[in-house]
Amino acid sequence: MKLRSTLQAALAAATSVLVVAGCTGTGGAASPGTAGESKTLRYLVEQPEDAEALKKLETRLADFEKSSGIDVKLEAMPYDNMRTVLQTQLRSGDGPDVFNWGSGPGFGGALAKAGLLYDLTGAYEQHGWKVYPFAKDRVTVDGKTYGIPGEMETVGLFYNKDLFAKNGIQAPRTLPELTAAAAALKAKKIVPIAASDKEGWQGGHLLSMALSSAVGSEGMDALLKGEKSWNSPEVVSALKLWEDYGKAGYLPDFPTSLSYDNATALFYSGKAAMLPNGSWLIRELDANAKFQVGYIPFPAQNGPGIFTAGLGSGPYVSVGTKNQDAALKLVDFLASPEHARWLVQNLGVIPPQPVDVSGLKLSPLMTQTLQDTSKLASDKSDLGYNIDVLTTDVFNKAMWDGVQGLLSGQRSAEQVAESLDAAFKK
């Protein structure tokens, strides 16, 4: 009886390992094929900030369905959920046929390395997709191109022009000016900078902004190529800036408890004067902000600084899709110049390819961003890098945890820099 009960207990407890064991499939082993091909596709996208955008995309996809005869089942998932379940879904074989995901080693690159993406190198040649070469590089791993790079976007500081004017504050053009503006706003009981970091990934943007403006694109190149260490004084200084701002009360209390949505709400409500965020928010700001919004790069010590630029989410095809031909037709549609123009006009999204915007009605913020991002392709101006799309998962975890630790008082700037350096070398 004792043996029996012991065995029962052991077997019962052993079930807890099944969570991991049951999911240890050999990712990427599935070979795409046309066997059992159906005319229905699952297309997964990140939940847009504006629900209206999803409806517009549905309408747009209806055009594709009509012309191709392929039924597209559009699914939307919040970014944070997608970050945690996408890889598991793809591994289990229950993933979408086509999905939008970030470009760069930390996003599409990680999936490609895991063997979960369909190789689109041949499709590029066949369809002649006109993607900017720098953007194509971000979705190319070991010589194979796996996706259509997502929208071009910048990360910077949005500010409430009305609130600034009401309090007699000018838009900061240097770091000392930003600090002075933050102090003045705090004195008037206004949250100076609505920085949020509950989800963790925002920490990557905070560091990217401060560091890009401090060291420029060349300095960022040196860091990302490993020519400069991540515990160098410049990195420590960029981290310390946020640590000091937190201690000085220029950020909300416990940014690590403030979600991305809450920070945006704080800005909309007029309780916060500045919002570190990206150009993907412009459409929502145009629609919802009841005040004039300005958009500036995060300032440098002696100048206006540079925008942090990166690529957002674009379409990839799952290696396990049973609808390979249909999936490629959908990707071809999404990469077309007509769709690029539609994206700019309807979703405020800037695809990484030449777009004819003649005749389009655009807001001043959108026009400004179009000009800024066009520099990405033409090399006319210095632009910083959004770090997390260019680094590995291990580094990103160290960065996100590190900035969270910094903002919650658990770690110092020096400790975070050390952990970044160690993670980069792994």
Binding site: V19, V20, T84, D197, P252, G402, L407
Partner: protein, 333 residues
């Protein structure tokens, strides 16, 4: 004594008497039950057929994945390589040297202690309060049990709103009663985050403990309680010496479930904080998941999951045996 004398001094020539042990009858080839062998074989076959589906399920869903997990714990599988290299005990050696594992284990221990004791105390208290209630008992049972049947994801999301620093009810409520200075970013403050998540789990689990213990209390011998009352026993004495011993096996069963749950806790932490801020709420379950599925260190994550299992087994077995012993002693409801 007389019997000993008789047995040790038998008469050497005595004929078999009534005191001589009776030999058992010689075994014959036929079974004593008289069941024909054909029927016995048929019964055996039927038994095997009836057991086979369950055995197949155990093999497919338990033994095989367990073996699979053991295999992955001894190789270095990153999710891609179909032939991962054998690394022996490296994963286990690494996890013993990994400071994040110890930090997560510390959080697990806090969870196990508070997450076991609190629901037991609250659940028992509620059960004792409702024990004597005649009218409205069903309402209380449903009301207190309801949180337990809610999906953990929904519970985590809703409590995340309650803890929200800017729009959450908790901070607003504190402000309303003049305790606004106690408000904080509950899930983002490393000093409160783990306890905030734990509070949510206790809220959800107490109802389960309450319902089970209330059922056990229904079987308590009230005559003993009345007798102790007449003897002048106070409420605590009655609880400790009269009520608790009678419900002890059930109490231990509930303790086992909540305690083992403390080792394998994952979902509520994952939903509410993801282990953050900066690992402040990381438990072994979330750390194993993060390594396996976010950092593609599937073997390391599997080794961690095995360690969680190994840690939980002794407690489960010990409590199981204790419960069984008490039941055999005739204690309990």
């Amino acid at each position: 004594m007389n019997r000993t004398v008789v047995e040790t001094s038998p008469a050497p020539t005595a004929a078999p008497s009534s005191s001589t042990p009776v030999k058992p009858p010689r075994r014959s080839g036929r079974p004593r039950s008289g069941t024909p062998s054909v029927t016995r074989k048929a019964q055996t076959r039927l038994g095997l057929i009836l057991v086979a589906p369950l055995m197949a399920m155990v093999v497919v869903f338990l033994i095989f994945p367990l073996g699979n997990a053991l295999y992955y714990a001894f190789v270095d599988f990153n999710g891609i390589n179909p032939r991962p290299p054998f690394v022996g005990l490296d994963n286990f050696v690494e996890l013993f040297k990994d400071p994040s594992v110890w930090a997560a284990l510390k959080n697990n221990v806090i969870w196990i202690v508070l997450g076991t004791v609190s629901p037991l105390v609250i659940g028992l208290g509620l059960a004792l309060l409702v024990w004597g209630v005649r009218r409205g008992s069903i309402f209380y049972r449903v009301a207190f049990f309801f949180p337990y049947i809610l999906p953990q994801v929904a519970v985590g999301v809703v409590w995340g709103w309650i803890y929200d620093p800017t729009r959450g009810w908790l901070n607003r409520g504190l402000e309303l009663v003049g305790l606004g200075s106690l408000g904080t970013g509950w899930l983002g403050n490393p000093d409160t985050a783990l306890y905030a998540v734990l509070g949510t789990a206790v809220w959800a689990t107490s109802g389960f403990v309450f319902v089970i213990l209330l059922s056990a209390l229904r079987n308590v011998d009230t005559e003993l309680v009345d007798a102790s009352l007449l003897d002048g026993a106070g409420p605590l004495s009655r609880l400790w010496y009269v009520v608790l011993p009678q419900i002890m096996p059930v109490f231990l069963m509930v303790t086992t479930i909540t305690l083992v749950g403390g080792f394998s806790v994952f979902d509520i932490v994952f939903i509410m904080t993801g282990g953050g801020p900066a690992g402040a709420t990381e438990v072994l379950g979330t750390y194993a998941y993060g390594n396996a599925f976010q950092l593609n260190r599937i073997s390391y994550g599997t080794a961690l999951a095995l360690v969680i299992t190994v840690l939980a087994i002794p407690f489960a077995v010990w409590l199981n045996r204790l419960q069984r012993r008490l039941s055999l002693q005739g204690m309990g409801a």
